[in-house]
């Protein structure tokens, strides 16, 4: 039964960097067709979790299954069925968007004709039609982000991992990408993303997971989380991660300036 197999299944995940205990026992299960917002302060272990899920990090303890595959045993099978857009990603910017996307498509084993057609249409939709054959060295952050988003989606993956997907995009592109994320989920795909922009997470997530110091401290829909603490997600996040005295810090900050 497809409906009952979770697309992501994490059991007791631990991860060390040297002697630093980064992930301290993550348990998580995600069903298909959801938009999952994965948030937490810097250094909480968000990116590490993402890298584990996409098969980049395999020296962890615990079990991680993605789309039914064991990430440790068969990372290539996982990678070929998911899409990933990393944060602050580097891309080979001496290439043109078309060349870059062709290259990425080839790595997924797609045939050139499909890649070219799809890449061109997607670039057109992102208003990059006039830049298809321009080298990306001169591209703005938003333009690069669009190319990256396309490179993560090009092979039409069932499960998409996005790290700070809206960074650098202008207001119109933000609306567009949010709509794309929503419609992907409605068509049965799963989007797992992390972000620091709380308003966005609050609005587009079916489910919100908050991680702090390597552990999940909250998990549920926005409405469910609000039952624990009322207010916006931003306030809630502050309370849960123990930084709800930012007002006082701000006051002290101002005072220090004139000392």
């Amino acid at each position: 039964m497809i409906g009952t197999t979770p697309v992501i299944q994490i059991t007791n995940l631990h991860k060390y960097y040297g002697t630093t205990h980064v992930l301290k026992g993550i348990d998580l299960s995600v069903e298909a067709g959801q938009v999952v917002g994965y948030i937490g302060p810097n250094g909480a272990g968000k990116s590490t979790t993402l890298k584990t899920l996409i098969g980049l990090l395999t020296d962890f303890a615990g079990e991680v299954r993605v789309l039914g595959h064991d990430v440790k045993a068969d990372p290539i099978a996982v990678k070929s069925r998911i899409g990933y857009v990393p944060e602050n990603a580097s891309l080979y910017d001496t290439l043109t968007p078309m060349e870059y996307l062709q290259f990425i498509g080839q790595l997924y084993g797609m045939d050139n004709e499909t890649i070219e057609r799809r890449a061109f249409d997607l670039l057109k939709l992102f208003e990059l039609k006039d830049y298809v054959d321009a080298r990306m060295t001169t591209f703005s952050k938003g333009m690069r982000q669009k190319v990256l988003l396309i490179s993560g989606l090009l092979h039409n993956p069932e499960l998409l991992f996005l790290d700070e997907p809206l960074s650098g995009l202008d207001a119109n592109a933000v609306v567009l990408v949010k709509a794309i994320i929503r419609q992907l989920a409605d068509s049965g795909k799963t989007v797992f993303y992390s972000s620091h922009i709380m308003d966005v997470v609050e609005k587009i997530s079916d489910r919100i997971i908050i991680i702090a110091q390597g552990q999940i401290i909250a998990d549920g829909t926005f409405a469910e989380l609000q039952q624990q603490h009322s207010g916006s997600l931003e306030q809630l996040f502050g309370q849960l991660t123990g930084s709800d005295d930012q007002q006082d810090v701000a006051t002290e900050f101002i005072q220090t300036l004139s000392k």
């Binding site: 960097y17 590490t48 290539i76 990678k79 580097s90 080979y92 290259f103 080839q106 790595l107 084993g109």
Partner: protein, 556 residues
């Protein structure tokens, strides 16, 4: 170049499959990497990567290949033409050793950033590409360049061998050169891996940086060494066989070629041939199966989530360091002081800066010592002229450093010069100049000067002083006539333009000043008399430099 490599890659699909790589992915990766090399203007490929913008021809690399072929001329003609057939073994060994040393040096210096580049990990590894495919692609990419270098180096040798001993011997010579290059790929990988075992990740880059500096010195040094090597007198005599020769890779290759040349077919030559053929392939296999995964994992660790290093929390009372005391002593306004400290610290830490300047310094020192020791028969080394040359060379080094100072990979951070209320940018320049003089010129000059005084006697102390002040002057002149740029405010390739013209002017001035100094050394008290004059000039030039206004500063 790209087409040739891709053609070869395309015809070896079964090989890649046998090695456990996905051939289509491998070809895609190699193709993209070569395309990028051709377009890049910054120096990922060291000397090989620099070229004019917009051109999509790797002409720079062809020039480098030409240079290598020219080097090969020495070994090819010098070693392989004269010796009789019976004594060809040792010259062959030298020739292969040369190929190997050059390959290893190239791998360790210019290609190290390629080998240690982990941006692939971010872009390619999240895709369904096995780490073995990626590793193979990287090896093929590097090997493509390396084989070209090996072929260029051995070109003349190849012709000599083929003409003297027939095409079969030539073919053997060629094959052995390629195998030698292959062996070096393996050995450098092992070397890097060993380094990674013993040092932390941050230290590794530091160590490799120093290693690159040493390699660069060796590279320059070999220009000097080569003609001397050819004077080896027993070159034409046959070599007595020793059993430890089995441990020297160049001997394997030489033995294999000798086998065809003589021709001989005894156990010793067979062993050498087997070693020459089997070791590179065994190395490749070992690298693919065992080292590759370890290497990639280690490499991944190099940049992955490196946590910010915390230092013990400092208290706000500053401990007075050497730098602080010097800057209090030597600078007299806040802006100059800021520039002094800034440049002092960055020149300590910026690897690119060190890589561009330190090899020259080390080479200068090696050269001076070498000339006085080894070349004592040399008229030049004994002459009055030589120690002056040595002293002024030191000044030349600081000019390079001063010029390099405007370049940085973080040049974009230079926006702070624009956003802060700086009314006299000349003070930044002068502060930086003071830091350079105190930190680089004085210690290095002291070193060279004490050697000169030790070797030529204390009588030369006047010359040492005058040359010092003159060096300062020339550094100032060079700074004044070049485009003035704020420290660390330009991309590396921007400052590389116009380099030649400037170098020429500096060279002319250097020659004039040096010649004047030389002339003065024949006038009684001429040198001592010139010192105050030169100091006066310096005072004037420095003031000029310090009064640089915004309109005189090049901003790009």
């Amino acid at each position: 170049m790209k087409q040739i490599i891709l053609w070869i890659v395309g015809h070896l699909f079964p090989v890649w499959r046998a090695l456990g790589a996905d051939p289509d992915q491998l070809k895609a990766i190699v193709s993209v990497k070569l395309t990028m090399d051709n377009r890049r203007s910054y120096a990922t490929l060291g000397r090989y990567g620099q070229q004019k913008e917009g051109k999509e021809k790797n002409s720079q690399f062809l020039i480098v290949l030409g240079t290598y072929a020219f080097f090969g001329l020495f070994t090819g003609l010098g070693m392989l033409v004269a010796p009789p057939k019976e004594a060809i073994f040792f010259p062959l060994t030298i020739s292969f050793a040369y190929t190997m040393v050059f390959c290893a040096m190239t791998l360790l210096s210019d290609f190290s950033s390629l080998i240690l580049d982990s941006s692939d990990n971010q872009i390619i590894l999240p895709r369904p590409v096995s780490s073995r495919t990626l590793l193979m692609a990287r090896i093929v990419h590097i090997a493509g360049y390396l084989f070209s270098i090996a072929l260029a180096l051995s070109l003349v040798g190849l012709l000599v061998v083929a003409i003297r001993f027939g095409p079969l011997a030539g073919l053997m010579f060629l094959t052995m050169n390629v195998l030698a290059a292959m062996l070096m790929v393996f050995l450098t990988n092992v070397f890097y891996l060993l380094l990674m075992q013993f040092t932390s990740e941050e230290r590794l880059r530091e160590i490799i940086n120093y290693f690159q500096i040493i390699v660069a010195v060796l590279f320059y040094g070999s220009y000097q060494l080569l003609p001397r090597l050819m004077n080896v007198e027993n070159m034409t005599e046959a070599l007595d066989w020793q059993n430890w020769f089995y441990a020297l890779p160049p001997m394997w290759m030489a033995g294999a070629v000798e086998m065809v040349i003589q021709p001989v077919f005894d156990p010793r030559h067979v062993v050498l041939l087997v070693l020459a053929v089997v070791t590179p392939f065994a190395g490749l296999w070992f690298m693919n199966r065992v080292l590759g995964p370890v290497f990639n994992a280690r490499l991944a660790g190099l940049e992955q989530d490196s946590r910010p290093a915390q230092t013990e929390s400092r208290n706000s009372e500053k401990t007075s360091s050497l730098m602080q005391r010097l800057s209090d002593l030597l600078t007299n306004n806040p802006l100059e002081r800021a520039a002094f400290g800034f440049i002092w610290r960055i020149t300590n830490r910026d690897r690119k800066f060190k890589l561009k300047t330190y090899p020259q310094m080390a080479f200068g020192l090696v050269y001076i010592v070498f000339m006085t020791l080894g070349g004592s028969k040399d008229v030049f080394a004994r002459s009055n002229f030589f120690y002056l040359f040595a002293l002024y060379y030191t000044g030349l080094f600081v000019m390079t450093a001063q010029y390099q100072l405007s370049a940085s990979d973080d040049y974009k951070a230079a926006w702070v010069y624009g956003s802060t209320p700086i009314s006299r940018p000349g003070e930044i320049l002068s502060g930086g100049m003071k830091a350079l003089i105190v930190k680089l010129l004085i210690p290095f000059y002291a070193l060279v000067a004490s050697y000169i005084l030790f070797y030529f006697g204390l009588g030369k102390s006047g010359d040492v002083l005058l040359a010092f002040v003159n060096s300062l002057n020339m550094t100032m002149v060079s700074a004044l006539i070049s485009e003035r740029r704020l420290p660390f405010s330009m991309a590396q390739d921007v400052i590389q333009r116009n380099n030649t013209a400037r170098g020429l002017v500096v060279f002319v001035i250097l020659t004039l000043v040096g010649a004047a100094h030389w002339g003065l050394s024949y006038v009684p008290y001429g040198v001592w008399g010139a010192i105050p004059l030169s100091m006066g000039v310096y005072w004037y030039l420095f003031r000029q430099y310090r009064q640089t206004t915004w309109s005189q500063i090049a901003l790009e």
